[in-house]
């Protein structure tokens, strides 16, 4: 498979490392080579957490600026902050539910309007899917399933080329049995929302 480079950006605690592991497992099922890189440590005290996933025929395990084929953002401002990782050919999938940084939460820093964020992402990249993954996660049964909702949306876009069934199988293998059903529901809700356009 031709290399396909994907960046996931999230705020610490949103579960992007688990999402990466599910995609890694799905790659194994699909028979696609995969390498991933993540940042631990200090970054997890409420900071930004970024994973790079490279599918297919390449050897590197990180992605340079401007070279992501897919950007999956768990928080709209973080998706926009990562726009430097994209080119005009990048497909972007983002959550629209905000988690303002502390300075913004207390009224001191700037946080762009979500509509403005969507507009910029849409104009500058090859396509944007924006869904309120938090609302869908709550509907699925837990705000913790935001990550899997977004995987559902990602798979629906076809940008990755993985089948729905294989990713669901990966969810079953990688997520605690007690939480599988809820997460499969979350996946379906994300998939449907992406199919319906933006929410």
């Amino acid at each position: 498979m031709k290399p396909l480079r994907m960046i996931i950006v999230a705020v610490g605690g949103q579960g992007n490392l688990l999402a990466s592991k599910v995609l890694g497992e799905a790659a194994l099922i699909e028979g696609v080579e995969v390498r991933m890189s993540e940042i631990h440590g200090m970054a997890q005290r409420g900071g930004v957490v970024e994973s790079a996933i490279i599918f297919g025929d390449a050897s590197s395990s990180i992605i340079s600026d401007g070279e992501a084929d897919i950007l999956l953002g768990f928080e709209p401002a973080e998706t926009l902050r990562a726009i430097g990782r994209c080119s005009a050919n990048t497909r972007v999938i983002t959550n629209t539910a905000t988690l303002p940084p502390f300075t913004v939460a207390i009224g001191k820093g700037n946080y762009p309007e979500v509509n403005e964020i969507k507009q910029i992402l849409k104009e500058k990249t090859a396509g944007l899917v924006a869904i309120d993954a938090m609302a869908l996660a709550r509907k699925a049964g837990s705000p913790m399933s935001v990550n899997i909702v977004l995987l559902g949306a990602l798979i629906q876009t076809g940008a990755l080329g993985f089948s729905k069934e294989n990713v669901k199988e990966a969810i079953k293998r990688r997520i605690k049995p007690a939480l599988v059903e809820m997460n499969l529901k979350a996946f379906d809700l994300g998939f449907e929302a992406a199919a319906a356009g933006t929410v």
């Binding site: 440590g41 409420g46 590197s60 401007g66 700037n110």
Partner: protein, 616 residues
């Protein structure tokens, strides 16, 4: 059963680099493992710790890296395969035993892991520890990917036994924290009990003995040099007259770049994976077939200087470049596009990078720096220190841990941070060199690591400062590892000893010792004031478990607070303690009930008493 203990050769599994290293050690039959945790190495030891609880593998979290290496040195000289792991700066702490252990050597395989951190994702410097291998005379392996890391540690144990010399495995963050599929191999049986055979002419390094040992050490390294020449880890890929020498992750960036640039027929790449001693003859042969050579390595010009010296010996005058203004920097980490561009520049390839997105019109987005957690007791302690020291000209030496984050406003506790334990000893210096008040902070794990010696120094030399020991009962920053002050019964692990910090500090001769519960704000401020008024060394122990830890072992059940109508919008809560659970909605201060744990710090500083437990 722990997933890395499974005896299932041939199974393909996705592993974190650090898990692959731990599995490699298990496959190599490691019997004895020691560490002090530090990112990016921490998951190697965490996995070995977990495995030790369900197998006969011995594992310990040692007090610091020097202790860990000495404990390991004894095991490796008693016939046990031994693994000692640490982050790059940890090897500085262990450097004293390291340099002389090289002379003594080992009787069973010993591998020392140094996890370097180019770009300093979570470190205070980006030193290049390859120099320790050269400095101390250790064979060294450097993997380029996760799967190779597992193979290399097994080879490292074999080589260590062949040479009777410890071997260094040097990784970088992008190996430790990458995931890839790894195939399990056979697990070699562990030998878990050894015997020390007295051999003073090898093991007692008085000068007369050490002089002889130094000669033998050089002979062992000569033998290592011979093995390096034929090592499978020192290989050449591709062919052509343009040469690239690349190590570690840079090798993969170079492979991708050569393919992307379409110059596969012109470039050959030498990848030194057994990188000390470098394979001198192999490199000379490689150079002889090249018109020019580019050396690609993160960090310092470790290989570049060696390659240039080999070329001089071989009488070759070809251009060999690496770290220059036009090419590579010793700063930070490399990435694929950077390596592609530099290869194109050096070999004169026509290459135009893909157009970048214009981001000039992207609005400013407030940064999201890491912060102390909601309900973190350090916030309360720092607030109390600040109040107690109000109006004074104070220096706050701080140390390495979560609490280093306290240097940011509004808490602003942290004026000088250099290394583990440095808060205590720099307090000694500041208090003598200035007339400023010195109030320093150190975590409990860091205090055990290397703060104690500074405090002994302070007592003996009659320094004058207040040391606040933040006793949160765990090594928090690196992921909740034990330390000598931890109640191991709480971890469900009886059978450990426990060192009480208060008794320890008193026994060292500190004359003014007090204990605070940081969430009792008024008392804490008063106690701190008394300690600061004391003429001499005073210690205040702030006792409160790490909130993340307490929640994870169900020691603390969160109970959220709310801002009631009594709020008159002073915003002291936001301006003075900056807890991330606060937000403003329609001009009013609110508390996020999902993240508030109910520490009640804000409730105690609110001038209107407006912050109350949330009514269910």
């Amino acid at each position: 059963m722990h997933k890395l203990l499974k005896d299932s050769p041939g199974e393909k599994i996705m592993l974190l680099g650090n898990e692959a290293i731990a599995r490699g050690a298990v496959e190599a039959g490691v019997a004895f493992a020691t560490t002090y945790p530090g990112t990016p190495s921490s998951e190697v030891s965490l996995n070995l710790f977990q495995m030790s609880r369900e197998s006969d593998l011995y594992f310990e979290y040692s007090t610091n890296e020097k202790v860990a290496l000495e404990v390991a040195a004894a095991a490796a000289n008693s016939g046990l395969r031994t693994f000692c792991m640490m982050k790059h700066v940890g090897l500085n702490v262990a450097a004293d035993p390291l340099m002389t252990l090289a002379y003594i050597g080992v009787t069973a395989g010993m591998v020392i892991l140094t996890a370097d951190d180019p770009a300093m994702f979570s470190s205070q410097n980006e030193q290049d520890n390859r120099y320790y291998a050269k400095f101390g005379h250790f064979p060294m392996f450097e993997p380029s990917c996760v799967a190779e890391a597992k193979d290399m540690i097994k080879a490292a144990f074999e080589l260590s036994e062949t040479l009777k010399q410890p071997v260094i495995l040097r990784t970088t963050t992008r190996i430790n924290h990458s995931n890839a599929f790894v195939t399990f191999g056979d697990i070699k049986a562990r030998q878990t009990k050894g015997r020390f055979e007295r051999d003073p002419m090898r093991c007692v390094t008085v000068p007369a003995v050490a002089r002889e040992l130094h000669v033998k050490l050089l002979a062992r390294m000569d033998k290592a040099a011979g093995i390096s020449e034929s090592s499978e880890f020192n290989f050449i890929t591709g062919q052509g007259v343009w040469g690239v020498v690349a190590n570690g992750v840079s090798y993969h960036y170079a492979l991708d770049a050569v393919k992307d640039l379409g110059i596969e027929s012109k470039v050959k790449i030498l990848r030194p994976g057994f990188s000390n001693p470098l394979p001198k003859n192999k490199i000379k042969d490689f150079l002889a077939g090249c018109e020019k050579v580019l050396v690609i390595e993160e960090g310092e010009p470790f290989m570049e200087e060696a390659v240039k010296a080999f070329a001089q010996e071989a009488g070759l005058a070809i251009p060999i470049l690496g770290k220059t203004d036009m090419l590579f920097t010793p700063l930070g980490e490399f990435h694929p596009a950077m390596v592609r561009e530099k290869i194109a520049t050096f070999f004169g390839i026509d290459y135009t990078p893909a157009p970048k997105i214009d981001t000039s019109d992207v609005p400013e987005i407030a940064n999201r720096p890491p912060n102390l957690c909601s309900g973190c007791s350090h916030r309360a302690t720092f607030y109390a220190i600040k109040k107690a020291a109000q109006g004074m000209d104070v220096i706050h030496p701080s140390d390495i841990g979560c609490y280093t984050l306290g240097f940011m406003p509004p808490l602003s506790i942290g004026d000088f941070v250099v290394c583990m334990g440095g808060s205590v000893s720099t307090s000694c210096g500041f208090s003598k060199a200035t007339d400023q008040k010195v109030v320093s902070v150190v975590g409990d794990s860091t205090f055990f690591h290397s703060g104690i010696t500074g405090l002994v120094n302070a007592v003996f030399n009659r320094h004058n400062f207040t040391l606040v020991i933040l006793e949160n009962g765990i090594t928090a920053m690196t992921g909740h590892q034990p330390h000598p002050g931890v109640d191991m019964d709480l971890m469900g692990m009886p059978g450990y000893g426990r060192v009480d910090i208060e008794n320890l500090v008193k026994s060292l001769g500190v004359e003014h010792v007090s204990v605070i519960k940081p969430f009792k704000v008024k008392n804490s401020i008063e106690t701190l004031k008394e300690a600061m008024a004391f003429d001499g060394v005073s210690v205040v122990i702030a006792k409160e478990p790490c909130i993340l830890w307490a929640k994870s072992i169900k020691l603390k059940k969160p109970r959220a607070f709310e801002v009631t109508d009594k709020c008159k919008d002073h915003k002291d809560c936001i301006n003075e303690i900056a807890c991330p659970s606060f937000y403003i909605e329609a001009g009013r201060v609110k508390i996020d009930a999902d993240t508030c744990v109910g520490c009640a710090l804000c409730a105690q500083i609110c001038p209107e008493n407006a912050i109350r437990p949330l009514k269910k």
